[in-house]
Amino acid sequence: MSRAKRTMLLLISVSLLLTGCKDRLNLENVTLILMEGVDLDKDNHLLVYMSSPVFSKEAKKKNEETKVKAISPRDARGYFEAKVSALVSTGKLQNLLIGKKLLQHPYWYKLLDVLFRDAKVRSNARIIMVDGDVDDVMFFEPEDKRRLPLHIAKLVDTAHERNLVETTTLFTMQRQIYEKGVTPYITELRREPGEIRLMGTALLNKEGKYVTSLNIVENELLQILQDEKYQDLTLTVVLPEKDKPGTVFHMGTVSFYVKKVNRKIKTSYRGGQFQFTYEIGLPIQITERLFDYNVKDDAHKLEQMINEQLNKQLRNLLQKLQKNKVDPIGLGLFARAFEYRNWKKVQNDWPEAFAKAEIHVNVHTSIKDYGEIK
């Protein structure tokens, strides 16, 4: 090797080292945004919030929260950097809180572009609607809970495991927005004095505008309709036939644990409207029954009574969805799969067609287990 070549090699290796150090960022120099919030103030200015953990032992509080006024979330980042102690990173973003006020405005989701575009953003961050001001949630510091971002993340995840709320992440949000056969839905929470409470699921229309909310019970039923049951799904219904007067309790109450959801949907198109027929088989296990009943002889009749109540509740839910023209179930996908020609005509305005559709629900429960006592 000649002298020149050797010098070259040396220079190249040294220059490698120089460029290498550029993107180094030690953990203690990172302000990890765990929760970001977007909201509008009363003059319709965009407010961006962030919450990140503080590592130093000298700090009294575990978290630092900041609020800035900005044109967009990316624009807010510069203001964040000017206020927080270290360099901002969204690589571990857990929750994205969005104010109800912001959700009233169509195409708000375009604000999330930076989060979709940046490869370093955690795409599993949960999108959550705040019923009220984001301010109240972001600056809330419950004393008996861990850091709020982690508390909310855990709360949402466990509630979702129990089918109480739906969760939507940045990743799944993309699909819900751009998929024609379904409308988006996100978790909903509210700041109550002293605690954070999950309200259920917020339903959005195709433009992302907030339409209506489902409470926790409705969400359980929605999950049956979606065939997306996670762990425990326990329903409680009051059978009017068994209700007794003369007491403050609902004596006709029966609770049961749904072991499995066997959903079948028949899709057809008749008379200018889509027709969906749900046949839902529910193997159940009775977990609570406040009335006396002779299950040995009349098990079938009990199943019938439960079916009736469930049918009623599910139909109410479907009516609510149709009235509000939102389709979180994704029936549009069935329409496209089975009635493609008719789907093509309405594909750009599926919620409208969904509202006009005729939907029948038939629940068939079968009691598999009564527990320790008959």
């Binding site: 090797m1 050797r6 990172v30 953990p53 571990k92």
Partner: protein, 515 residues
């Protein structure tokens, strides 16, 4: 690299020149033995000037009435056999007319006659005693070797639970004997040669003739013959001169203190080199897989041995890369750490004033010092050093805010992992690899670690041991040989010798296991 090579060549060349000069100065050719005893003793005195341990015993040979002298270096001979089997016989054995004069009445097995002074000198230095007779133009060398040596005991460095508890010792012929005991077959062949220009050292090449490739034996023989060095005190020294790539971090030969290890390697078609005065034996050629095979692997049941084998590979990876990965994760790729871990690491790190690399270096250096200190000290003190270092310094360093808790965990697990490897040389090499990995990780993050890993693999693939591939059977893939690499299949399933070690005979045992 080129520069180093040139420097190396320059240095060795000068050494050779110097050696030649010294040789000419010190060992002039003195010709052959004279007839007169007096002249001979005078020559001997001049050869061994200033050697108070040279004993010359003059006496009258009873059978012929000749004057005679027995010469030996005290300390290198067995005094019992000199007194009883040589001197007594020569001085007091009654005259027997029927005996021919040359048939000495000495009851010692190995008796040779020689005329060359150079030969006599070497014999004396090796512990033979030399008998001169007045009027005879030759001298007799008697095998009365018996120098101080320790008993055969378990090897300290390669302890084994279920293997043989005999280790090699510092005398070459005993080591050869131990191997002969292990492999009592006439196919065990030996080539003896001497290495060292100033001080000769006997080196024995052992191999099984029906297994080892003749060209490999020849190659090793040539390399040994080409050696031109002052003196070899240890097998480790010899391996440095024989290596294919002297600048590689990785050991290219195995040195072992265990006869059973050496025997099993011989049985696979490899070659052993026994160096006199050294308690370890060199094995060549070797591949990377051999460094992960312990003796106990073959004496324990195969599922257990397999588990141990996998553990060693994992440990090797941990020992080389864990600190690097840790540094890369907390200085570049924070996103890959689970959130809860980030929060606790963040708390630890916030208290530490140094960058992760410096923190890691500090701990690693401390660890290496502790290890070295523990090795040099006698066992009870060594333990104390371990405890003081491990617990007191580690704990205090964390409390003082010099290093973080997790770094102590990382460094300690690295240390434990590096001690799992059965071969000391390989463990030491991997400990060294860790440092460049740490540096590069702190500059390039995970990409740097990947680059390090690739470089290491490239190096492994191109490395040779005695001209044979180092990375077989992994890199030139020999799937059949994988029975004994990452896992250890039952012995009865290994019917053939490994393909990766070229040998003359492929079949090991009969085709079927008798159940």
């Amino acid at each position: 690299m080129e520069f180093f090579l040139r420097l190396y060549k320059l240095l060795t060349h000068r050494q050779v020149v110097m050696l030649r000069q010294s040789r000419e100065d010190h060992t002039p050719d003195r010709g052959t033995v004279a007839a007169g005893l007096k002249e001979n003793l005078a020559v001997l005195q001049s050869i061994f000037s200033k050697a108070p341990d040279l004993i010359i015993r003059s006496f009258i040979y009873k059978q012929s009435g000749q004057r005679a002298a027995l010469v030996y270096l005290c300390g290198l001979v067995d005094k019992n056999s000199i007194n009883n089997n040589v001197l007594y016989q020569l001085m007091f054995e009654p005259i027997d007319e029927s005996q021919h004069m040359t048939n000495l009445p000495i009851t010692i097995g190995d008796l040779k006659s020689t005329q060359q002074w150079s030969q006599i000198e070497l014999m004396l230095l090796e512990g033979h005693s030399i008998l001169f007779l007045e009027g005879a133009e030759l001298a007799y060398s008697l095998d009365t070797q018996g120098w101080p040596q320790r008993a055969i005991s378990d090897s300290q460095i390669e302890a084994s639970l279920k293997g043989a508890h005999q280790g090699f010792i510092e005398s070459g012929w005993q080591n050869v004997a131990l191997l002969r005991r292990m492999l009592s077959t006439r196919e065990l062949k030996m080539i003896e040669l001497y290495v060292g220009s100033r001080v000769r050292c006997k080196v024995t090449i052992l191999y099984l003739e029906d297994l080892a490739l003749p060209e490999l034996v020849q190659e090793l023989h040539n390399r040994l013959m080409e050696l031109n060095i002052d003196c070899v005190l240890n097998t480790g020294e010899l391996t440095e001169y024989l290596e294919d790539r002297p600048f590689s971090l990785l050991p290219q030969f195995i040195t072992t203190e265990r006869p059973d290890t050496a025997a099993s390697q011989l049985l696979q078609g490899r070659i052993c080199v026994v160096v006199d005065r050294s308690s370890s034996v060199m094995i060549a050629p070797v591949g990377i897989a051999a460094f992960f095979q312990g003796v106990d692997d073959y004496s324990t049941r195969w599922p257990v041995a397999t588990f141990m084998r996998i553990l060693r590979f994992v440990a090797c990876f941990i020992a080389a890369f864990l600190p690097g990965i840790y540094i890369a994760c907390i200085s570049f790729n924070v996103e890959v750490i689970p959130l809860d871990l980030i929060l606790s690491i963040g708390q630890f790190r916030a208290a530490v004033p140094f960058p992760p690399l410096l923190e890691a270096l500090l701990m690693e250096l401390m660890l290496e010092m502790l290890r070295e200190a523990g090795v040099r000290l006698p066992a009870p003190v060594g333990q104390t050093v371990g405890i003081v270092g491990g617990i007191v310094i580690g704990q205090a360093a964390v409390q003082a805010g010099i290093v973080s808790n997790l770094m102590v965990v990382v460094v300690a697990s690295t240390a434990v992992a590096s001690f799992i490897l059965p071969n000391f040389d390989m463990a030491a090499a991997i400990r060294l690899i860790r440092f460049p990995v740490m540096f590069i990780a702190s500059m390039f993050g995970i990409i740097g670690i990947v680059a390090c890993f690739m470089t290491l693999i490239i190096h492994l693939v191109q490395l040779r041991s005695l001209g044979e591939s180092y990375s077989t059977p992994i890199a030139p893939v020999r799937i059949k040989d994988w029975k004994d690499v990452f896992i250890r299949m039952p012995l009865w399933s290994m019917k053939n010798r490994p393909d990766s070690i070229r040998s003359l005979q492929k079949t090991r045992i009969g085709p079927k296991r008798r159940l």
